[in-house]
Amino acid sequence: MAHPTSGPAAGPQIREIRSAGTIRMAIPLVALAAALIAPFWFYPIFVMKFLCFALFAAAFNLLLGYTGLLSFGHAAFFGGGAYFTAHVVKIWGLTPELGLIVGTLGAAALGLVIGAIALRRSGIYFTMITLALAQMFYFFCLQAPFTHGEDGLQLGPRGHLFGVIDLGQAMNLYYFVLAVVLIGMFVIWRFVNSPFGMILRSIRDNEQRAISLGYSVQAYKLGAFVMSAALSGLAGGLKALVFQLATLTDVAWQMSGEVVLMTLIGGIGTQAGPVVGSGVFIALQNNLATSDFPVTIIMGVVFMVCVLVFRRGIVGNSLPRASGGRLG
């Protein structure tokens, strides 16, 4: 039986490459289409939670995957962004988009301070210092009056985007969140695929060599750290607008752990990895929340399976070596 072939004299390999290229082009488009219609299929609030965490994980991956720095203090930026945004929207009466800008800049400033201190050390010491400084910020939030401690900072009505569009409408809110997350993702994509991003990759690969070529690696690392903190703050601010709440949970160390898990599950150093990882994570968390079984144990098992079976994460393992998961 003769099979009709699609192209004249296109060898199987060429066709394979071409279709792989088509798939790589198609995935973002399919994902975008899915995101546009998702609120008609799922609870918008659930999808928005996923979007916020996808951005958070992508911002974290900018640091871990593309710079090789493992921070265990990113809750400070996520939670800090949430508090800053919630505070200026509630108390100063700023519009939501201005609130997000304040949350992003506040987290960037926090990132500059924490990064400048933590980057004096490397490896596990760097990680430990980020954890310690984030814990200090946690206790600051616990004590400071503007956070309202255990009660959290509760927002009133969602307000109007640019003073015009009512975010109280579920669909308006959803497409606003989607737009912000897409912008954030684009910024990350541009950042890691820029001349600066190339230097970050070289530092990740061989720091000593980068120094010997005359690069001030500390400055480059700090730049990546601040950018990662800023976008984590954007994700946190967005989360505060969606849930009308900024709480201590957002700045607690468990949040730092969760973003590490999400990123590792999906695959570090790839664009799609953190998105997939946060999707898996949020879905599990939601489904398990209603069961009696301790969520942490299941998460731990899922994490171990992911690390053992897919060594480069779900996305990293499903891509050919050259095009993704380059940290293997």
């Binding site: 541009r190 190339m198 060599r209 010997s212 050259a322």
Partner: protein
């Protein structure tokens, strides 16, 4: 070149000729009480190839780390092109034109050969800090990068991941990357270790070629290469200088024969 007060003392084996570009006086380094390098005086001259040889553990790599400031000296002074660099940071020293290679091949394994060489060009060509521009702007550097890739016979590996190259090819790539910086002083730590005979010949020829317009200080175990291309030889033993001079003088020195070649025939 006028000597600074710090560098007033000439090196013992001072030879007339080309200007000195890199000077060390009384260089020393201790590791927790163990003296790895002690009292090393060096004069590296423009347009000359200077070999640093000695048995394993003699302290050659440590001297390189001190000169390039990857390690802080415990004692002594270093001067590069008339500037005291004893307290400078390694990246600042590199920017002044003192560039090193590493004993253990140092490439960026997840970058392609082309990207490896381009990383060296990005900083001098002011294309390193732009985080808002697309990666495509780096294609501007391709022609320049390709000239080094071609010169070192890596053209067919241009788009190969550096981590997938053979050991010898990685070393060649490291030299290509180092040369791309157009250093004034080139420090090569065993550049030919692990290379096939053909590559050794090619790299020796390239080193000789590039040394016409810059100083080269190299650690090399292959003595026939040293005899072939080096103008000046310093022998190190247990962190101290045992002998200096041209290859024939040094090779004839009985102490060198005992210490380095291990025989006293």
């Amino acid at each position: 070149m006028s000597a600074s007060p710090v560098m007033a003392q000439p090196a013992p084996s001072d030879q007339a000729g080309a200007p000195v570009v890199l000077t060390a006086r009384g260089l020393g380094r201790d590791f927790h009480g163990f003296t790895a390098v002690s009292n090393v005086d060096l004069d590296v001259r423009h347009a000359q190839i200077h070999a640093l040889i000695g048995p394993n553990g003699a302290g050659k790599t440590t001297v390189f780390n001190l000169l390039t400031k990857f390690l802080q000296p415990t004692r002594g002074q270093i001067e590069l092109l008339g500037t005291d660099i004893t307290r400078m940071k390694p990246e600042a020293v590199a920017r002044m034109g003192l560039v090193r290679s590493f004993q253990i091949s140092a490439v960026f394994p997840n970058l392609t050969v082309l990207e490896n060489v381009r990383v060296a060009l990005q900083r001098p060509d002011n294309l390193a800090t732009q985080f808002w521009l697309p990666m495509g702007v780096l294609d501007r550097l391709n022609d320049h990068a390709d000239s080094f890739i071609d010169r070192l016979g890596l053209a067919e590996y241009r788009d190969t991941r550096a981590g997938d190259l053979s050991y010898g090819r990685k070393r060649v790539l490291e030299i290509a990357t180092t040369l791309a910086l157009d250093p004034k002083v080139l420090l090569l730590d065993e550049p030919m270790a692990g290379m096939g005979q053909e590559d050794v010949q090619m790299v020796a020829a390239i080193i000789r070629d590039v040394a016409r317009e810059r100083a080269v200080l190299m650690v090399e175990h292959n003595l026939s290469v040293v005899a072939d291309i080096c103008d000046h030889v310093t022998v190190l033993q247990r962190g101290e200088i045992l002998a200096q001079g041209d290859y024939d003088t040094v090779a004839a020195d009985p102490r060198v024969r005992t210490a380095y070649m291990g025989t006293e025939d």
